[in-house]
Symmetry: C2
Subunit: 461 residues, 2 copies
Amino acid sequence: MSADWFRRRFLPRGPLPAPRPPRPRASPVPYRRPRFLRGSGSSSGPTDASRRPDARPVRSPVRGRSLPWNAGYAEIINAEKSEFNEDQAACGKLCIRRCEFGVEEDQEWLTLCSEEFLTGHYWALFDGHGGPAAAILAANTLHSCLRRQLEAVVEGMVATQPPMHLSGRCICPSDPQFVEEKGIRTEDLVIGALESAFQECDEVIGRELEASGQVGGCTALVAMSLKGKLYVANAGDSRAILVRRDEVRPLSSEFTPETERQRIQQLAFIYPELLAGEFTRLEFPRRLKGDDLGQKVLFRDHHMSGWSYKCVEKSDLKYPLIHGQGRQARLLGTLAVSRGLGDHQLRVLDTNIQLKPFLLSVPQVTVLNMDQLEPQEEDVVVMATDGLWDVLSNEQVARLVRHFLPGNREDPHRFSELAKMLIRSTQGMDDSPIQEGQVSYDDVSVFVIPLHHQGQGHSSH
Amino acid sequence: MSADWFRRRFLPRGPLPAPRPPRPRASPVPYRRPRFLRGSGSSSGPTDASRRPDARPVRSPVRGRSLPWNAGYAEIINAEKSEFNEDQAACGKLCIRRCEFGVEEDQEWLTLCSEEFLTGHYWALFDGHGGPAAAILAANTLHSCLRRQLEAVVEGMVATQPPMHLSGRCICPSDPQFVEEKGIRTEDLVIGALESAFQECDEVIGRELEASGQVGGCTALVAMSLKGKLYVANAGDSRAILVRRDEVRPLSSEFTPETERQRIQQLAFIYPELLAGEFTRLEFPRRLKGDDLGQKVLFRDHHMSGWSYKCVEKSDLKYPLIHGQGRQARLLGTLAVSRGLGDHQLRVLDTNIQLKPFLLSVPQVTVLNMDQLEPQEEDVVVMATDGLWDVLSNEQVARLVRHFLPGNREDPHRFSELAKMLIRSTQGMDDSPIQEGQVSYDDVSVFVIPLHHQGQGHSSH
């Protein structure tokens, strides 16, 4: 993406053209649940049962089907917020080949390679909005993008330190001292590959949705194991935490209009055209009214962490670029997340104002060094969409994990049972620690990934 | 500042105009050392003595002169890097009045007010470059800007929580629930005032330098006590740390072309015109050469935390926007810091390419709650320009502090003695812990601020 491209795409000189009516050239993305749920209940469309919390089924893989690392999974559909469960999930083995062989990728279960060179594992959650299509496309696609991006740099991942030049055919010396000085490590290539994969996947989704005349977007949270490290890449408001006996460690941050306020305000400062005169980029404690004109009120602009006062002018009465607090915060009155995939066609209702220029598809990546961690018997990573974290804190989830696991050591399916129990806790069942009236009406999806005995066995041929 | 202003100022449409030759209308800013050093040795111009490390004097206030909170101070001039000591310092009492009285500010020692309402203290270090003028102007000016910005919001600082409307004359309800929901606290107003003060000071310096036909810039590091809290605001590569018996806590981060790489690369992505076709915004492990053309080499762009490989094109051979590592990293081959005051006229040598659009004057502010901290006998904040931190780590400074203070409890001047000892340690004297050959040839300035018995005594009438 170049700056010129950005300007052409988002800053038309004349009056904005009407959004192109979608011209479907491909068939729409069919709704489905993750394939690893097959056999665990109805898998297409919502259940016929009433959507009362106690009637919505909590689904998880059938007993006997094991996910990578014996991870657990469970999900529940929302309470009639949308027709479909807009969450999606994917997991599988990730086989990185040294060369491209052009193998067809017709299986969702990620056995993507014929000649494997490096093997990893992959777990991903996608929380869709504006329809289920983007999340389904992401679940179908992101692992392939990731594999492709990793294969493009895999030669650089073999050495202790990535070489300055990828192929050994450079006629000039490869200058390892410069790579050394910059402190570039193998894991930086994996981080770069994750960043590129999210962007590539975003482009694929944009093309596919346009072709099929569909719309929508989704968040993406990925955990990937590779060469003794666990990489967690997040774009959106899902969350991953590490739970150990004596430690609860966040492995991701949430990206919302609130947490990315300064970045978003700054873009509106640089390109005021993006707001088409309909919004103010300034933040106030509440939306201003005519009565506030001429008064000094609290405000923040893009360069400010603190607050100050300004004299209210007429333009300050416009609808705010970011409005509302916490769960209610919305970007341009429309979207609750500021990073994710898709949303290429999303506009503010009844306007031509686009959301996409304010959204980032690039994830933040954190790295867990499994060798240094020396995972113990009941150390797990819990990944979940925002429906879980809206009603349970990290500490509450950690307490539930620590309470559940020791009593269920013999059950080979215990991590899915734990995931189911976590979801039931969001519905006010199972002696849930949540407060009265705080049940989750959202889609909720949870992976529980056990770390014990996993870090060591990484293969590297 | 508006986006239009930014574009007019930095993005001329036609060929760039030659930089205006400075037309001095005011007399140049006279060189001086901080006034609180009066009587402690020669105070104007460099010493006549040779600049060998052992011959350059370490200066500190004369015995008997006490700085706010009995803080210590010491400085040393560089080893012939420049004619003058480009570091500057200021400290004093900060009296915030409820109304503007227009009192003349003719004293550097900051007794700025007739009717005080809130009282704080202020310590500041400025590390100049391109001449001493900007740092001197900042030392003369920033406290006044800060006082003015605090006085503009002081009414909002009286209540437990700032009111939505500053004056009580609003005809609409002041909606405390919105301020409550946003979690806006009194300290956010102080942070906002610090942010505004740095920007106001930057504008003053720009005007003054243009009027006097001088050039230059400086970093700024400020510690300010107010209502039981210590605020540390930093723009540049100076550093403040808290040293306690069992803890060393950084109170600031450094802002350099390396630490702000993504912000700087992003601006060049948005406005490629700023590079005038002379620089590449991409980062490579080293500057590329003709031999690299067509090869796949390691690179990073603005959206990447990780690294990837790209096929080298001709435009990648240009000089990099950010070049060099660590201490040697330079923005546009010119500047080692990415935040600070001044530099309004600074251009890349022999070009019209301006540095200023890439620089921020806004500081990062951290807050130390003195009441919660319960400072002990030998808890201090050490503030110093980069000359100290280039050769001593936070831990080394902490060890020197902990070793020095207990043995010097009786000396009322011990914090200045400690500051002098820290500076001598950068010169390889006094059993210095630094490694052979690692002496500092830079200007070095140090404040040591004792915290014991200080948090409690804050006045608030």
